[in-house]
Symmetry: C2
Subunit: 359 residues, 2 copies
């Protein structure tokens, strides 16, 4: 499929691109100013829920459009060929709402399961994701968590509250083994920093090819069948695999039992990658020494989940990828892709969701 300039939609006027999740006027202004002769940007913050924090793409869930607003919203969606994000608050399919739709730039990386649920796997729709935009904040979250634990900051905080000066020793990241499940863009960013800290980095892969390990910037790759060896040797396990049928329930009770005793687990993937009940048991027994969790089986994490009160758990409300810099980065990404789209360089658009493999 190519979006050529002879396209029937395009010939009748400008390309209609619509912002369908909250975005600051500053960033929308940059987009509107990029191709004023070729693109009509529909930016209607009045039809979008107010954001609760920087890069809140969902917006206030209590907010509702009036019937008049909803009609206008649907009318505009009906004109759009390009969307910034899947339309917030809509349950209807994107291709029904926007018959001209050809490309959606999402603001999330992990949209595979969502695209499957929307029944878009067989469509020609181009879905570019935010994969990569979140790699850096997520990598920073991983090390915030690892260092919080290794440097015993909770102990320091307690000592400080008591005005108590007792020298003590902390742990060290250098020389420890980090195991990364899912060495994609996020995993590679994590590996890069881990090596700067002097850690040994292992990762899962389809095979254990040393050349591929070097290309990924890790010390050793473990094929799927070698997962138990990876778990047994890891001082910390970082989960950043996409949620696919292959990774669903990947870290189950048996895998947690195979982990090196006292290991640290960081989950920035999806809650469904881990058996949460088994993890709670392992944390209570100290078999998992510490866990930093940004994702959960059910989100929001239910108020009565034991995870909230476990002293060796750091709960993050699926916000580890969210930084104050995010929308500026997404705007840059969208503008790069928009320029390619306008020029018919569909093959240069990136990162494109593989609708079959779902990442």
């Amino acid at each position: 499929m190519a979006a050529s300039k002879d396209d029937p939609i395009r010939r009748s006027g400008k390309l209609v691109a619509m912002i369908t999740s909250p975005l600051e006027p500053e960033h929308a202004g940059h987009i509107a100013a990029a191709h004023p002769d070729r693109v009509e940007l529909v930016y209607r913050p009045d039809l979008l829920p107010p954001p609760r924090y920087a890069a809140d793409h969902g917006g206030d869930p209590a907010w509702r459009r009036t019937p008049e607003q909803q009609a206008e919203w649907r009318r505009q969606l009906g004109r759009a060929e390009v969307l910034w994000d899947f339309a917030v608050g809509e349950t209807a399919g994107p291709l029904e709402l926007s018959p001209n739709l050809r490309w959606v730039q999402t603001t999330s990386a992990g949209v595979g399961q969502y695209v499957k649920r929307l029944g878009l796997q067989e469509s020609d729709l181009i879905v570019t994701t935010a994969s990569g935009v979140h790699a850096q904040p997520l990598a920073e979250f991983v090390f915030a968590a690892l260092l919080f634990h290794a440097k015993r900051l909770a102990h320091l905080q307690a000592e400080q509250r008591a005005h108590r000066w007792q020298r003590f020793h902390a742990g060290e990241l250098r020389g420890r083994v980090m195991a990364i499940v899912g060495p994609g863009r996020i995993g590679r960013e994590v590996a890069l920093v881990a090596r700067a800290f002097g850690m040994t980095v292992w990762a899962t892969a389809r095979d254990n090819d040393p050349a591929r390990a070097a290309a990924l910037g890790v010390d050793r790759l473990f094929a799927r069948a070698e997962l138990p060896a990876l778990l047994a040797g890891a001082d910390c396990l970082v989960l950043c695999a996409p949620h696919t049928p292959e990774t669903d329930g990947l870290i189950d009770r048996a895998e947690l039992a195979a982990l090196k005793p006292g290991a640290v687990l960081v989950n920035i993937a999806r809650g469904a990658v881990v058996d949460e009940d088994a993890l709670i048991d392992a944390l209570r027994e100290g078999r998992v020494g510490f866990a930093a969790l940004d994702v959960f089986r059910a989100e929001p994490l239910p108020p009565d989940s034991p995870l909230w009160d476990l002293p060796n758990v750091l709960v993050s409300p699926h916000s580890a990828s969210t930084a104050d810099t995010e929308n500026a980065k997404l705007t840059d990404l969208f503008l790069r892709n928009l320029a390619h789209y306008l020029d018919g360089e569909i093959d240069l658009m990136a990162p494109v969701l593989d609708k079959r493999r779902l990442y």
Copy 2:
């Protein structure tokens, strides 16, 4: 000075090396086993205070030798040519206590002022320090603190205590400017990790030579006269300079006023490098957004210091350099230096304290 094999002391028997601060038997055993024919290792844990944590080189301050123990301690010190550490609990000069003393391997990096106080600046004593051994734990502490602040972990902890799930945005290290005062071994380690995180790294130096900047692994060097520009542009200021007459009071009220508003300050150098009263004022006003302090004007930090209770301060009891791995590293360092010393390769011993420049 060379410790040749024709040395009058050495000829009369084995070299006497003495452990004068707490050390695990395992590590002392490695040292004793290295040169059994040439070195007599005096390892008398019964004459040393019990350690309170791994790599506690001071030991329990309440512990005292009995008069008999003190006599034996002094007798052994009198025989020693080589010391592992300056003798714990002694106020007398090392050269008076150990007339044959030629080399001390310290377990600390910042011993310059101590050596000056002991009046050793004019002596021929070789002082090798632990410089480098602490670089990694200190660099890890720096990023533990920076990420604790940037990733708003205190906010996360409060939310977790309240079982509250509210998505939020954190800050990011990538793209921020780190200014390092004192790009020695610790500073270079910090710079290496900072660049892996995608930070821009500036550092102080005698001049602003770009070639030297590249060699140090930083983006830009600032000469002493350019300190205000460095401070004005820095998102975080990491102090890791040795305490010398030149750095005493370096970060005074005027320098804190010149800092970029809201900047983060990490002090892993010495308390005397910063005007503590001015820092407290800057923290109260929020001009300094957050400070992680491992060192203070007076240590232990007095219980009534306002620093304990400031919400934007992390107090660490001069333990940021202390990791569970430290004594193993010090043992390796001592054994390398001992081999050189035995072979008369004094020039290969490292890192040697420059007794004039005091680092």
